[in-house]
């Protein structure tokens, strides 16, 4: 099968996907993220590279790490 726009999320990306989901769906988490992003990301166990990609809002890096386009709706 050719590469599709929407892809199966690899298990290794679960923490990052969970964090992105919380950012869009959990007002309290979003407030904590805005107050102290590193501490908020640590709640989800994000490693340094994932944290850097998210802090830089580097969409390509986030997708490369296994997030899906659906996270950005």
């Amino acid at each position: 099968m050719n590469e599709t726009h929407y892809r199966f999320p690899p298990a290794a990306a679960y923490a990052l996907n969970r964090c992105l989901y919380a950012l869009k769906s959990d007002d309290a988490f979003r407030a904590r993220f805005l107050a102290d992003a590193k501490a908020a990301m640590a709640e989800h166990g994000l490693d340094a590279e994932a944290q850097a990609a998210l802090l830089a809002a580097d969409r390509d890096a986030l997708v490369a790490r296994g997030t899906g386009a659906f996270e950005y709706f």
Partner: protein
């Protein structure tokens, strides 16, 4: 009994109306929605069964159902400044779950999951007065592997039979489509030619042909959400679609469609 069947775009910009949008185009789609609302007031449904996808609002990776039924007392969600809550027609929802499972569809049901804007946007524009309860029917469109078009069509056929045997007057409404690529690099390049070919097929009453599409073809055409339409097509058979509008914007093929249901004029 099934008294009506529709498909409506749920493009967020139709309701948010940012300055990026062509105002006249948005108003033309609004006019098509208003026409649906007038039809619903003629058809006098007891409930609207809305078939929609989920933009990873209700169902995250903790549990990813292919097909689900909202069977709580009500269903609620938020979208931007909008907070919405709709009563669920519980007897109908329960009948869909019980009879759907009896027919071999291993449905998930929920009495709590939040309701995605995919359900809200068409209802915002088309809910008749007086308002009627809904039955939200989830189809996974964005989290691979999604149900196949063939499975969606079969589920729609079963839904049509289940609803057709009920005493309530029920309208089926698909939400979503047509071509768009949300969250991807191709957002500004929908496949309008593909959409128009599909609309020709529906106008000819050949909607069953869409059941033969593959998931890869839907993804390529920016039409992963067409699974909701294909579900409704399973219920309407060879009815010829009336296209209320097809309005291609810079990011989205906006369509509003009705399929006549045999014997129902709404009079």
């Amino acid at each position: 009994m099934l008294v009506g069947a529709f498909a409506c775009a749920h493009t967020p910009q139709l309701i948010a109306r940012p300055e990026t949008e062509d105002r006249e185009l948005v108003l033309r789609v609004h006019a098509a929605f208003a026409r649906v609302r007038r039809r619903l007031e003629m058809l006098r449904p007891d409930a609207i069964a809305v078939v929609a996808g989920d933009h990873v609002e209700a169902f995250f990776l903790d549990a990813v159902p292919a097909l689900a039924v909202y069977a709580g007392a009500d269903a609620a969600g938020t979208f931007g400044p909008y907070e919405y809550r709709f009563p669920v027609h519980e007897p109908l929802a329960r009948a869909v779950v019980e009879q759907g499972i009896e027919r071999g569809f291993d449905l998930l049901y929920t009495q709590h999951a939040r309701l995605d804007y995919a359900f809200f946007v068409p209802l915002h524009f088309t809910m008749p007065a007086p308002e009627v309860p809904i039955v939200p029917l989830h189809v996974n469109v964005y989290l691979p592997p999604q149900p196949t078009p063939r499975r969606c069509h079969a589920w729609g056929r079963a839904l049509g039979e289940i609803l057709g045997a009920r005493p309530e007057r029920v309208v089926l409404m698909a939400s979503g489509g047509m071509s768009h690529y949300p969250g991807t690099d191709r957002y500004a390049s929908p496949d309008f030619d593909w959409d128009r070919r599909v609309l020709d097929t529906l106008r000819d009453g050949r909607g069953a042909e869409l059941a033969a599409l593959t998931g890869e073809e839907l993804d390529k055409a920016g039409n992963v959400e067409l699974r909701t339409w294909i579900t409704v097509l399973g219920a309407v058979g060879a009815a010829k679609a009336e296209i209320y509008c097809y309005e291609p914007s810079w990011h989205h093929g906006n369509a509003v469609v009705e399929w006549p249901v045999e014997g129902e004029t709404g009079i």
